[in-house]
Symmetry: C2
Subunit: 352 residues, 2 copies
C-alpha cells in the first residue's frame, strides 16, 4: 500500500509500524511521550512496546477512555506531566488511540511551549478515516464538541490495520459512517463499492480510499473556509443528536450512529432544497437505516437539538448552515436551513 | 506617526484609537468582545467607550489584574463566557490591557472554535513594546511563564500613548527595560539615544523605534527558530529571577526590573564568552544599575534559579542557552552556559 502525502506530512499505511520507529529515530527528539487511554494501553500498546524498546527512552502518559475525558482538565493533567518530565521543545508526542486521544493529544502538543511535534497513531476505524487526518485538534467544553482547539498538522500519521482486529463491531460501524460519507460527498463509485462490500471489517484498500478523499479535501482548504465544509455532511444534525445522547443516554450513540441519523436527515433536506433525486434519497436512507440501529428522535426533543445546532461552531449568527448533496457523489455547502425544515427532516427519519 | 506593517497585520500608532473602530466596522464581525482586567476597566475602558458606542453591540469580559490571573482557570472562565454569549467563528476579541490581558486573550481567541480574530490594544509601555507584537500568546502553569500557548498573529495592533499617562513610574521603567534591550541587541544608536533621553515617559518616537526593531526581528523568524532568539537577551536569567520573585516576594519585581538584572548578568557572560568589550559591559551595568533598584540575589538562591532556568521553554535537554552580545548593538544566539558561569554572573551583579 502506498504512502499518502498530505500537505506537510506523510500518512503511512504499514501494519508493522516500523516506519514509526524509523521516524522517531531520524527526528532526533530529546524525548518521546506516548499518550494512551486505558483501552489502548491494554489493547494497542503491547503491539508497539517491542518497537519502542529500540528507542533510548520514552515515557507513557495515560488518560481515561471515553468522550468524557476529552476536556480541559485532562489537558491540564497531561501538560503538567510534560512539565514534570521536563519535556522541552524538541520532545515528541505519539498519540496512540481513538479520536479522544488523537484530538486531545494534538491540542496538548500544539500548545505546550507553543507547540511541540506530534504524530498520530489512530487505533480505531473512526480515527483512521476521520480524526487523524486534517490537522484539527481539540477538546469539548460545556457539552460542545471540539469547541476549544487549534488547526495544527501532525508530523506524520501511521495507520495499522492490526489495531482494528480487536475492535467491537459497533466501533467498526462507527468509522464506517464516515467512509460512507466520503463516498456520498465526493465519489459515487466508492459509495457503490462500499455498500456492496462485506462491511464487518473494511479492507485496507477501502480505508486507504477514504483517507485519500478526506486528505484531498483538507489539503485544498485546511481552515474550513470553503470546500472542507463538505465533510460536515450529516454532522449538523448528527452532532446535535450525538451530544444530546451523550448528555442523556446510559449507553450513548457512537459518533457514526449519530452521523448516520444526521446523513439521513440531511439527505432529506438535500432532496427538498438542493435537488437530490428522490431515488438517491431512498437509496441513502435504505442503506444507512439497514446498517445502523433505529434511535428514537421524538418531536419533544426537537427544541433541545435545535439549540445544540445553534451552539455548533460551524454556525454563525445563529443561522444553521448545512452541507447538502445535489446527487450521490456531489455536495453543496452553506445551505441555510430553518428550524421548521430541520425538524421536518428529523420527522422523516423517525417515520422510516 | 506612520503605521508599521508586520507580517500579516498593521500596527497603528494613533492616540485617538479611531482606527480601531474603523477596523471593527469594516471587519463585519458578528459580535465584539472587549477583554479587560480590573485596572484597564477603570483606567482605559472610559477612553474606549465613547468609540465603542458607535458599534451595534459589544460585550465586556473582565479578568482579575496581575500575573496570578494568567493561568488556564481564567482561560476556562473566558471560554465559557464566549460560549454563553453564543460567540461564533466570526466574533472578534479586543484585548485591552497589559501583557496578561493581551497574552491570555490572544490564547483564548486562538483556541476558541479553533481560532477567532483578535486585536491587541496594549495599555502599558511593556505590552506596547513587547507583548503585543510578535504573535506569541500564552498563560503560565506551575510557576512557569507562558508555558501553554500558541504562535498566532493578531489581526491588528493599536497603540495609543494616551494610556501611558496614567501609568506609575515603576510600570514605565518595566517597559523601558525591553526598549533598552532592543537597542543593545540591534541598534547601538538607539541605545545611545535612549540612555541620553528623559526616560520618565519615553516619547512616541522612541516607542515606535522599539516596535520597529522587534517587528523586524519577528517577521524574519516568527517561530523563534533562529534570530528571534535575539529577543531573549537578559531573559534566561531574568525570567528565573522574575519567577522566583513572584513566588517569594511580597512585592515582586516587575518584568523589566528582573530583565534588567538578567541583562547585567548576561552582559557579564557576553564579556566572558562572546567578546563583549569590557567598556561596553561597564556601560551597560552602569546604565541599568542606575535606572533600576538593587535587588538581593544571594548565593543561597542560585540553586533555585538554576532549576527554574532548566524548566524554561527556551532550553532543551537541560542545557541553558543564552543570547549574548558581541558588542552593543550585536547579538549572538545559542551560547551554552554552565551552572558555574551562570552563578558567577549572578555574583557579578550582586557585587556591583
Amino acid at each position: 500500500m502506498d504512502t499518502i502525502q498530505s500537505d506537510s506530512y506523510p500518512i503511512f499505511f504499514d501494519d508493522s509500524l516500523s516506519e514509526l520507529i524509523t521516524f522517531i529515530k531520524q527526528g532526533k527528539y530529546s524525548r518521546t511521550f506516548v499518550l494512551t487511554d486505558e483501552n489502548t494501553s491494554a489493547q494497542c500498546l503491547p503491539v508497539l512496546e517491542p518497537l519502542l524498546a529500540e528507542l533510548d527512552n520514552y515515557d507513557l502518559i495515560e488518560i481515561n477512555a471515553g468522550e468524557e475525558s476529552k476536556n480541559i482538565d485532562f489537558c491540564v493533567g497531561v501538560w503538567k506531566m510534560l512539565i514534570d518530565f521536563g519535556a522541552d521543545r524538541k520532545a515528541l508526542m505519539v498519540n496512540l488511540g481513538g479520536g479522544v486521544v488523537t484530538d486531545l493529544g494534538g491540542f496538548v502538543a500544539s500548545t505546550y511551549k507553543r507547540g511541540i511535534d506530534f504524530v498520530q497513531v489512530p487505533t480505531t476505524l473512526l480515527s483512521q478515516v476521520d480524526a487523524s487526518v486534517g490537522g484539527k485538534t481539540g477538546v469539548d467544553m460545556d457539552g460542545i464538541k471540539n469547541i476549544i482547539g487549534t488547526f495544527t498538522q501532525p508530523k506524520a500519521v501511521f495507520m495499522s490495520a492490526a489495531f482494528l482486529k480487536t475492535l467491537p463491531e459497533r466501533q467498526i460501524l462507527s468509522g464506517l459512517a464516515e467512509m460512507l460519507k466520503h463516498g456520498l460527498i465526493c465519489d459515487a463509485d466508492y459509495w457503490k463499492e462500499l455498500k456492496n462490500s462485506d462491511l464487518s471489517l473494511p479492507s485496507v484498500e477501502l480505508i486507504y480510499r477514504s483517507v485519500e478523499i478526506k486528505n484531498a479535501v483538507v489539503i485544498e482548504d485546511p481552515q474550513e473556509k470553503s470546500i472542507r465544509k463538505a465533510l460536515n455532511f450529516g454532522h449538523t444534525i448528527g452532532h446535535a443528536v450525538e451530544t444530546n445522547s451523550i448528555l442523556n443516554d446510559e449507553r450513548p450513540l457512537t459518533h457514526g450512529e449519530a452521523i448516520a441519523i444526521g446523513m439521513i436527515c440531511e439527505a432529506w433536506l438535500s432532496h427538498k432544497k438542493a435537488g437530490l433525486p428522490k431515488e438517491h434519497l431512498h437509496e441513502i436512507s435504505t442503506v444507512l437505516n439497514g446498517l445502523y440501529p433505529k434511535y428514537p428522535v421524538p418531536d419533544t426533543c426537537h427544541n433541545v437539538l435545535y439549540e445544540l445546532m445553534q451552539k455548533d461552531k460551524k454556525n454563525t449568527e445563529k443561522q444553521i448552515n448545512c452541507t447538502l448533496l445535489t446527487k450521490i457523489g456531489c455536495f453543496s455547502i452553506d445551505n441555510i436551513c430553518t428550524e421548521d425544515e430541520l425538524c421536518a427532516s428529523l420527522r422523516y427519519y423517525a417515520a422510516l
